[in-house]
């Protein structure tokens, strides 16, 4: 690490970016929680998941984080009996997205918490750099 | 150290210097008044106390970096050192000023 404090900023920035992507996915899931298909028997919105991965940054030698992939939750859809719905299949059941409000809200809280923590790190790294440069200032 | 300085005020020191000049003997320090520390004693004590405080401040600071020292102790030691250093510098400046002023006096 040529300058550890700059490296710290870079890593924290990657954390912020990853967490905000996660938050975006959560809000997508929440927004589409009731999105069914259009035609009879078709699939509704499938819940998205994020997975993180560590990436070694060659220039600074620190491990940044990135979103490895935005995947799909393969669990089963929720079925509701609504024969009059345009998306109802032959038995009269409509498939609703496999999004659970409770799970998404909990995920959102976690993402928020991680985001705040990364923000704290950014603030601190910036403060440390400022303290160092301040040494030169006339006292 | 501060109380020694208070007991030998700048004016006092200056008066001793003028005494020395009036007597016409510039060599050797003025004889110390009975019971009062002589000026050069005070000066040397001042110098050594400043140096002692500086060394203490440095030692405490280095100890705080390698180990665990209460923050207030470090701050106190450094402040002490700075105070005595600034005082010594101020006195040095005053003495030099006084000497120059005296040296300008027509004999």
């Amino acid at each position: 690490m040529s300058d550890p404090l700059q490296a710290a900023l870079k890593v924290a920035a990657s954390g912020l970016s990853a967490q905000s992507t996660r938050l975006r996915i959560v809000s997508e899931n929440l927004a589409n929680a009731q999105s069914t298909g259009k035609t009879a028997g078709s699939d509704p919105y499938r819940r998205k998941t994020v997975s993180f991965a560590t990436e070694l940054d060659r220039t600074t030698g620190v491990e940044t984080v990135r979103i490895a992939e935005v995947g799909k939750d393969t669990s089963a859809f929720v079925e509701e009996y609504e024969p009059s719905h345009p998306a109802a299949d032959t038995r009269g059941y409509v498939k609703y997205p496999n999004v659970s409000m409770v799970v998404e809200m909990a995920d959102m809280r976690e993402a928020n918490r991680s985001y705040e923590a990364n923000l704290q790190v950014v603030k601190q790294a910036r403060e440390l750099i400022a303290m160092t440069v301040d040494l030169l200032r006339n006292s | 150290m501060i109380d020694q300085l208070l007991s030998v005020s700048t004016r006092n020191a200056l008066s001793k210097l003028t005494e020395t000049v009036n007597q016409g003997s510039s060599a050797g320090p003025a004889p110390a008044a009975v019971g009062q520390p002589s000026f050069d004693n005070v000066l040397s004590q001042l110098a050594s106390s400043v140096s002692g405080k500086l060394q203490n401040a440095e030692a405490v600071s280095m100890k705080s970096m390698t180990g665990d020292v209460p923050t207030r102790d470090v701050v106190n030691a450094v402040m002490d050192a700075e105070q005595s250093l600034q005082t010594a510098i101020a006195i040095r400046d005053k003495i030099v000023q006084a000497y120059l002023e005296i040296s300008r006096m027509p004999i």
């Binding site: 690490m1 040529s2 300058d3 550890p4 404090l5 490296a7 710290a8 900023l9 890593v11 924290a12 990657s14 954390g15 990853a18 996660r22 997975s51 993180f52 991965a53 560590t54 070694l56 030698g61 620190v62 491990e63 940044t64 984080v65 976690e110 918490r113 991680s114 923590a117 990364n118 704290q120 790190v121 601190q124 790294a125 403060e127 440390l128 303290m131 160092t132 301040d134 040494l135 006292s139 | 500086l54 060394q55 401040a57 440095e58 600071s61 280095m62 705080s64 970096m65 390698t66 180990g67 923050t71 470090v74 701050v75 450094v78 050192a81 700075e82 250093l85 600034q86 510098i89």
Partner: protein
Amino acid sequence: MQGIHLFDLASRQAEWLSVRQATVSGNVANANTPGFKARDVEPFHDVLAQSQLTMAATNPKHQEIDASGIAATALRKDAVTEQNHSKNTVNLEMEMVKSGEINREFALNTSIVKAFHRMMMSSVKG
């Protein structure tokens, strides 16, 4: 001349603290990465003792060193108090505590350096 010794030590401590900050930063960013093990640096005292370059491999496939030999090492097994089901060992609260420690030590370090620099300058001025 002894003052120079102080400035050198302060400079090394500042560097160690910066590396520690970068490590904390890495831990916090990777708090949700599966399989990530939280890391910390060797204590400053030990770093001083070994003045030459050291390499502490946390994973045989990748080694991390910097110019002054301060190596980030994985937390020792007994220091890990919890591990969730995705094998991530980062504890955000502990990282915040470490952050606070770093802040305090760094502030003290820069203040000491500033004060001694000031004293040196004022005594040198005519």
